[in-house]
Subunit: 378 residues, 2 copies
Amino acid sequence: MKDTPFAELTLFITGPTFIRPQVRQAGLLPEFGHRDTENNLRFKPIMTNLKKLAGVGDDHQVIIFNGSGSTAMEASIRSLVADGETVLNVSVGAFGDLYHKMAVVNGKKAVQLKFEPGRAMDAALLEAAIREHKPAVVTITHNETSTGVTNDIVAACKIIRTSGALALVDGVSIFGGAACPIAESGCAMYSTSTQKSLGLPAGFGIAFVTAEAVDKAGKVANRGHSSDILGQLGRAGKFQTLTTPNCTLANQMFVQLDYIVNEEGIENRFARHEAMRDMVADFVSGLSGYELFAQKGHGSATLTTVRVPKGISVKDLKAVKEVMRAKGYLYDPGYGKLNEQLEKEGKQPIFRIGHMGDITPAMLEKYLADLGSVLPKA
Amino acid sequence: MKDTPFAELTLFITGPTFIRPQVRQAGLLPEFGHRDTENNLRFKPIMTNLKKLAGVGDDHQVIIFNGSGSTAMEASIRSLVADGETVLNVSVGAFGDLYHKMAVVNGKKAVQLKFEPGRAMDAALLEAAIREHKPAVVTITHNETSTGVTNDIVAACKIIRTSGALALVDGVSIFGGAACPIAESGCAMYSTSTQKSLGLPAGFGIAFVTAEAVDKAGKVANRGHSSDILGQLGRAGKFQTLTTPNCTLANQMFVQLDYIVNEEGIENRFARHEAMRDMVADFVSGLSGYELFAQKGHGSATLTTVRVPKGISVKDLKAVKEVMRAKGYLYDPGYGKLNEQLEKEGKQPIFRIGHMGDITPAMLEKYLADLGSVLPKA
């Protein structure tokens, strides 16, 4: 192979994330026919292990979409919101806004309940919005990647379900890194992806759907082709994907889920993420003028957002990025649009630290030490 | 890594296809941030080389969709067919039918012009259908994977464009294996994928779009999110994808397109595919009772379909598959639904030989020799 000009950086961004060597190597496993028995040698254990990781049983079916987490989210809108119904999109940041945008651009009647960046969903305001709009469907973000806020989806879904609405949850950046109370929440469809806390390359959207979702989809017209969860389930029931999957990623996912479930252990994996959240919180508390951005008690186990002191700008953070690059890291200077907005409002910008997937506390410790030496002083 | 139970088979199916060792190895190249400068080190040359391979210039823009060829095709329907307009789907097989299905399940007013399996599009019948239905948009399959028939898309698109309609072409299984007269045809959007004649794993849909398509999309409502070519182009203009791409595939695609354009050479690649088509035709002519299935003059350069003699059933072909598996191959016993239909009509089923991507004449020669010794005698 010709030499490539690509840098070998350790990704501390919020996805895609660091791929550990064993997972990269699994990319060398053989390609296969997606309608052949070889397919099921990959996807049957993949789907079984995904259900273990999700803590769901026979009440849930798993769909693997070719695409990304957005593919699964958009499918939930197209399959589960009927024309003329109101969908309420609860947003605590850019990815909550994206769920709303998906509803709008698909011609759905959509309203939004927005919270200030850094704040979590508030139950009383959710109840009020549901009383006002009487939605048939409500979407909510489990873990907002732009702000590092985790919502209490059990509480939110309880309110949503009590109103009689269906709950759809975006769990893109948390699944695989923390307990996701999918069954307990009673959400009809929970969407996630491979390239965040599962520690895999991007390429598949993943969804867990209930019988209630299946029933509802049967009453929704124009669900599209790849966005139709019923068509997808027809294949998923045979441990297949609707269209040709990326064989490399399937092989890597087979290996990685076996590792998570049978080697690292699910509880250990979740505990590791919590420990890393605490490490970053300690790090920030030791940095004069820097503050955690997420509402107290809602800091994500998989990524942390940090508000910088007065006098430090987005431009400074972009300079930090280049210094960190020279040290072999990809640093995350914050979600672009959010920082634009914050600076426009005269507020201080934030940066993010992704500590998801297969990043270890030892790797994070080294990263924080290097970052601490690079961040501008208040 | 634990031992995996996966067989190392050489894929002679019609996609996914054989991945050559250099491409597998390229999967070990580093992951990257999709909004970082590292992204462009991959996708700028990828898009440039795709345009070279497509023989298009500044009149065309390239979109890389996360998903598959179907993702690009469905986007063409959602972005370019307005509600209330008629779309005519020209079908010479299962994937032409799929384009029609995509129009129907997205709520478009769709009519179909179907040809018998094995036959190519007929210009006079296309003209008549256009006169009858007055479609605003017409879709056509360049290379029908289920029947091994290649349509003359220049002739078809000339008729379509003369009528004032937009032409959308599905080039999923041919792009990268034969000359695709995209610019000459004047089609508004040409969709293809990675896992066929490009010799890559699945994971990206690829589209070439014209200014005419961009203009039309601006007048179509409810284009969706990932299916909106305008949203996609906003990112593509920066050499990015709309959502997180599979980094492994991007690295492999960077290496593979450089190989195709600068090492193998585009013309050599196309000539190799034609030579393989001729090799298979010679092989079939030497098999008593077996016949080429595709209409004369329309046999695909990337896959060949073979009608089996009387007395040989689909069940026999499935037995051939298992014998070939034991020899290290994945053999293709024909497109399931088509063979069901053929047997129901009292006709003989077909099998397929994929000779696409990076399969070499030497590999094919060995495969045909092995297959010849296994196929049941007439």
